[in-house]
Symmetry: C2
Subunit: 461 residues, 2 copies
């Protein structure tokens, strides 16, 4: 393997090829505690497409697998190293190449942090919707590879809905350009959307052309408290049925509320019997936003909300939303957390929360449910003691029981975090043998030597 390292250093410069054990270890895993990680041979940080091509060709020749990654904010172990691999870190691809307000599009490199990109386009009055919770440190490349979502999805869709085209380095080192710079286009297969969400198993994304939206109005905010999750679930279903499209609709269960109240040392005003909070926003602006929030409030009250409060003060809205944003941090009062990611039909949210309560009792661990109610994507989060192997095992059991429940409710085993190295069996179960055969056929067609992220998402046997 020394020959490979020599070749990589010759091609990319020696500063781009790291082998110091501590440094290498720091690039060897993402944020998912359940996923194992191996020991990489080296970490490579290319700065241009030629560097990626050289790395891919040298690794292919040496039969050394490549695990690509961005900031490492992932929650599926997709970016976790395997033994003897090269970790290909894309964070030096950090330029916003172009912003074109006349066509509402931008060209961006994968290493740009989501928030930095949002800020750059905002200066032109433009809006890049995908906003995963880690938006202040995750990178666009990771967002593309996992088809990341966030709080905006209920109104603005997920990452794939914003992408017009990609530049990708393939397994033979050639450079593929997919898509286009126009709003519409149907020339050939939709290769763009095949690479998005493929979790680094099909190629290395080196650039993306994305469609932007007009910057929405400053949002008005509604918070509503319910004495039962069923009432909150009814309210969500009514919002959908009545044709409202808030720009945000989040749910917190009783455990989440308690954790946030304790952490923030405040009373969220929901009353001690409050079993669920709904947080909604409208960014429609002016009268439209006021009437949208009023309609949302009326639905909440009709469904039995004991408390409902609306404001068009942006700072106050941010403060109300803070309760939702701090939940994971707040749970660290009680132990370490393991967050799950399951998406269910919007009519089944209350059943999912009730099921998580049952699972919590069964495993004897705290489970707090927060989620994107507007699109049914729930994040039940299990809390366990960091030093207890037994609690860790029970947490893992709960994690699986939640996925089982999600599937039983007609849902999917991952709404936005991805499959990675922790949900491979669940993907097999959800997709079934025909779909898995198609996955393997596509992988073999594009990466016949299994160079990219082997064993992640699915194995080839």
């Amino acid at each position: 393997m020394d020959a490979l390292l020599t070749e990589l250093r010759a091609a990319l410069g020696k500063d781009a090829v790291l082998t110091d054990p501590d440094v290498v270890a720091s690039y060897s895993r993402d944020m998912m505690p359940l996923a194992p990680n191996g020991k990489p041979l080296a970490v490579v940080l290319p700065t241009d497409v030629a560097g990626v091509q050289a790395t891919v060709r040298a690794c292919a020749e040496a039969k050394v697998p490549i695990v690509p990654r961005g900031a490492g904010s992932g929650l599926s172990g997709a970016a976790n190293a395997i033994d003897g691999c090269v970790v290909l870190v894309m964070t030096k691809f950090d330029r916003v190449v172009e912003i074109d307000p006349g066509n509402r599009l931008a060209v961006v490199q994968p290493g740009v942090v989501n928030l930095d990109f949002r800020t750059a386009v905002e200066e032109h009055g433009l809006f890049y919707p995908p906003d995963p919770s880690s938006y202040d440190w995750c990178t666009i490349g990771g967002n593309l590879s996992t088809n990341a979502g966030g709080l905006c999805c209920v109104k603005y869709g997920v990452t794939t809905d914003s992408v017009l085209g990609l530049e990708v380095v393939l397994a033979d080192g050639s450079v593929l350009r997919t898509g286009r710079r126009t709003v519409k286009g149907v020339a050939g297969y939709d290769l763009t959307k095949l690479f998005i969400g493929s979790e680094g198993t099909l190629g290395i994304i080196t650039e993306a052309t994305v469609a932007l939206r007009p910057l929405p109005q400053a949002p008005g905010t509604l918070v509503a408290g319910f004495d039962s999750t069923e009432q909150a679930g009814d309210a969500v279903a009514r919002v959908v049925r009545e044709g409202l499209v808030p720009s945000l609709m989040e749910i917190m269960d009783a455990s989440s509320i308690k954790a946030a109240e304790s952490y923030l040392n405040t009373d969220l005003g929901a009353g001690s019997d409050c079993q669920a909070l709904l947080l909604c926003q409208s960014d429609a602006g002016g009268e439209a936003a006021r009437s949208e929030l009023a309609a949302l409030e009326q639905i909440c009250l009709d469904c039995g909300a004991g408390m409902a409060y609306a404001t068009d003060d942006v700072a106050e809205g941010k403060m109300l939303l803070q309760a939702r944003r701090v939940v994971l941090t707040a749970l660290e009062q009680y132990g370490v957390w393991l967050t799950d990611d399951v998406s269910v039909p919007r009519t089944r949210i209350a059943e999912l929360i009730a099921g998580c309560e049952r699972i919590s009792e069964e495993v004897g661990l705290r489970i707090a449910v927060v989620g994107h109610a507007g699109d049914g994507n729930m994040h039940p989060t299990i809390v366990y003691a960091p030093d207890s192997a037994d609690e860790f095992a029970r947490a893992r059991k709960a994690f699986d029981a939640i996925l089982d429940l999600g599937l039983a409710l007609g849902g999917t085993v991952t709404g936005e975090h991805g499959v990675g190295k922790i949900k491979r069996d669940w993907l097999e179960r959800e997709a079934g043998p025909v779909a898995m055969r198609v996955h393997r056929q596509l992988k073999q067609a594009l990466d016949p030597e299994n160079l990219f992220n082997p064993g992640s998402m699915f194995s080839l046997d």
Copy 2:
């Protein structure tokens, strides 16, 4: 081949397998005059998935290619028969299987006519956006296979943006289910969007699960006339730059206006010097729609519109839009038409129209440009004498010159009609050798015997 017909009749019933030459001929081509068609062996009309599977397996065994089709409204020859093929007609898959208002989704078979599906979901207050011009006779299956667009796209996207999952019969006769019933989901590769727009080359779509939207408000309408196409183009670019998102924004050039005025025997009120009309709608409802239309009107006036007229009367709006809708029919006063489909960045629309004027002079044929200005998807339409081989040759020359121009302006050779059998060389040119290799690898992975629509979109050599 008699053995194949006997087998198909045994499996599907004899009424489902047609060989009468006149009947077979009537299923042998779509609406694109440039594309050749061959003589099919038979036409098969299955009524269920088992019938599709039996057809696929029998044809694979007999090495007889399958050309799938719906109503035949296509404009690329993708559904045109090749010699000795089986034409697989999906129009008997004509059921709306399920409408779920609580989750804003529906399950629909591919043979359902777009308008019938729209009407069915409208009864539940729901909206299926994709609205190709042929919406009163094209089928959902054809819409899926071509990733059809329409007039709604500027605000609501194209077909792929509305689809959650598919059921597809693969080349070995097995049934693949892709996607999910939830709003979000990232379990595995995005197989759904790979099959959408694949023009019948990868599998036979037998069912789709689609996301619906709330029914929009009745639209208000604005029409504006400009003395130059540059002014109209500027207005479009300003609309984009200023963050407006009308629910419709169509453009007609001078030739289109003249044809419509002559056909409708009326004056569109634009004045005799009018070189371009912009037609805009807002479906935001009430005050929001009025202020959106007012902003659109102001932009048109600022860009030099000599005439601008807004109305929130729905019937009057429909009448104004009628001028746009009749253009192709109106052109039949002068000959037969050949409509092209090119998508350019929205800042380049005026250049495209000016280029079409030059091409019109060069080939000595009338070219009328209508298009979806809001997304840059233009349909320059060439008129020629039906009985003149020379004019047909010149029409074809103009068709290609328009694509050449579209590419030179940073556009794509097809915005919504597809590649089919007429733009294969153009796809090669736009996509380039690496992307074409990837296309062939994917096709070979999923359809190794080249059973489905061989030679359409691209050839395997």
